[in-house]
Symmetry: C2
Subunit: 487 residues, 2 copies
Amino acid sequence: MVYCNFLIITYNSSQQLITKGELHMNTTESLYEELRHSLKDHQISNNETLIEQHSHDESYHHPSAPDLIVFPESTEDVEAIVKIANAYDKPVVPYGLGTSLEGHVIPYDHGITIDFSQMNQVLEVRESDFLVKVQPGVTRSQLNKELKKYGLFFSVDPGADATLGGMAATNASGTTSVKYGVMRDQVRDLEIVLADGEVIHTGNLAQKSASGYNLNSLFVGSEGTLGCITELTLRVYGIPEHITAARASFPTVDDAVEAVVSILQAGVPIARVELVDEPSMKQANLFSETNYKEQPTLFLEFHGNEPGLKHDVEFTQEIVRDHQCEEIYFEDDNAARNRLWEARHNLAYAFVHGYPGKKLMVTDVCVPISELAGAIKHAREKVNELALHGGIVGHVGDGNYHILLMMDMDNPEEVNKAEQLNEQIVQYALARGGTCTGEHGVGIGKMKYQEKEHGNALQVMEKIKRALDPNGRFNPYKLVHKREENK
Amino acid sequence: MVYCNFLIITYNSSQQLITKGELHMNTTESLYEELRHSLKDHQISNNETLIEQHSHDESYHHPSAPDLIVFPESTEDVEAIVKIANAYDKPVVPYGLGTSLEGHVIPYDHGITIDFSQMNQVLEVRESDFLVKVQPGVTRSQLNKELKKYGLFFSVDPGADATLGGMAATNASGTTSVKYGVMRDQVRDLEIVLADGEVIHTGNLAQKSASGYNLNSLFVGSEGTLGCITELTLRVYGIPEHITAARASFPTVDDAVEAVVSILQAGVPIARVELVDEPSMKQANLFSETNYKEQPTLFLEFHGNEPGLKHDVEFTQEIVRDHQCEEIYFEDDNAARNRLWEARHNLAYAFVHGYPGKKLMVTDVCVPISELAGAIKHAREKVNELALHGGIVGHVGDGNYHILLMMDMDNPEEVNKAEQLNEQIVQYALARGGTCTGEHGVGIGKMKYQEKEHGNALQVMEKIKRALDPNGRFNPYKLVHKREENK
């Protein structure tokens, strides 16, 4: 009987042919059995530890467990899983490494979580084309290790060593986006398994195209709500001939931010520019045992040829001095550069370490660069008013900043204050032409701001969701898919 | 009676309330009358000369006349026009300056052409944010004239002095895209009038966002099939501190293309790199009265600071010499640089001038850069085999090239040969991971290749079209909207 169902499901190209009535087995147990006919035993699990691990991400959002976790090893596996999910009317949530920060991968309607960790091959490096083809479970550091052999690197660095599938699904970005762009700018082609189990390619290998609607950019950042990414072709870059890093301290955050605006206006092609405020510098010194000046600090990086960089560095020195910079250190040496960046990279850990028992909550808005100084000042005032503990850091070249808050999640008053703060900084950003999320994405946490931010355009997004996933199969209750509307 | 209809149409927010049956006036005359209630007399025309002018673009595609042309002066005018078009079930075609090359603006189902020439204001320059807000009828050169006052420039240069609305609609690109990206990369926000007459904004003013589906990139390149662009917020750049141009001659096209690949691989940040082949150089010399070496030639440009450029230029000299470059000239001076680029920019005119009575037909494919030398060699062989007259030029840093063909449109054999050539170069590109159009777009000319290029993804595009424009109101029979399926 089970075998018979398996045959029907696997060999019919369209899942519409199979109705629930025909199957009479709409339970997790029979779903498990069904999956066993398409996948190997070790590819399916309802092990308690694994279920727990896949019931949350790195955010403070409340957990919810999947019924089952599957570990596909090929696109064909994913097609089979989606077709079976359709037959059993079970939701599907794609999962990379669970490093999302707004509850993206939490299966609030349970069902099947597809863990892509076994699809982790770098499939092809096209050196002359500056392209690489990877499976979605490849991590950023794994890719960069492989690319180093070719003198190439992948530019997007969100901090976490996330999977590339997850980074594409959430349009990740980070410290280098000011020069190289965000994840969306790197995606040349995606292989996607759609809600009906069909496979498409969203792009091609050419550097540019004016053919058809741009599906690459639609699927990047769609947070697993429109399809499962099963392969990515990504743009990569030659490792720069020369890199210089710098650390510059300022008396106020305003001075630091205004210095960044001046650097950008002067056309200096900075590759990274990160702001770390005074409380964050204190935390960094405590954690990293450094004795950096405890003032608002810019961490900068320049990529290029040596004489060009020398000129950029001199120009930058003049600019930061015009903005009351009190100390600037440059580092050309690789090891020294790494030490310099360590303080910035370890900041989240530094806060976690400094506030034992508390949980980290990170806000994430982005404003036009001319509004950044005001936005950060407003944020610091609100943090102080609410007597919260936290630092402000930011990819300030993009107008994107975060508040790192240390929260006692068992203290409802504190949680309430943090939510108030989040609300206030989002409303501040939206009122000034900004966005409720610069890089973390919508997930469950930013859904409440979608209508305010997008207005009528949200209905266009909802129409697209309904057109491509009419049964709400993929990642339910996320992004545009409100809980009250479905099921 | 007419006035009464006008009231119904204007004050009902949804055109669904008005049925054709209620109106009893589904003729061009009554449509004209209806429009006169929402627009001023001078904003509507069926003048014969204007009708003829709006019945074609710059391509060889056969003309078709609109019933009427309207000249909106505001977003509200466009909303009213679309609502009236819905009430009368008339198609709507947005029109910039008619410089499209694949029949994009030809109204094959007649109806209303919306000419945006009266919406031509630069609305705001946000200097510190590197942003500008414009109406869709502003041309590229008009914008650059305004931006120069601020030390800024708009980077996309497709050759023609097109409108920015048209450039966004077709995802235009050109000589500078190798460094600054294509039109899609510059669009921060669009105001769009949708098929139901509602107005949306597709983005915001922040440099990056991870909020919601990316509608900016969906509407850019949708060729007026999903909505009318009524306002654009675009990214602009600081005018580079220093610019150097160069012209380098090579014994073969292969050598020139391989030199470009090496320059890119060496990480030299070239701002332009254009290939002009031997027949095109001959034509340029005839037209511009220059005596440039009649060999495959690269025109290059470098933007940056002076010492950085000096290093880039020296490095580039070494690279091109390794690829048999026989002559390389550099020009720092503004006037000399302009002269150097003139030969490239006037090439299309040079061919038109050299073949009186013939019409220019331009092909446009894009391949991965590693396939470019082979693709251009194949193209030259096919041009020679078919005994056609034309030159090959290309934005070779992007893998994008064109064949400029001089055609006698009254000679069916010649037209047939040109179509054969187009077919062959498109199939060659598609077989190698390329695209049927790098920058000219689909329009009517590249529709036949959409299925081959996009496979199942074409159905996703069709679903999006149906979801956003269920009645096929906007620019019928273009991009994904096949004639046989509708009406």
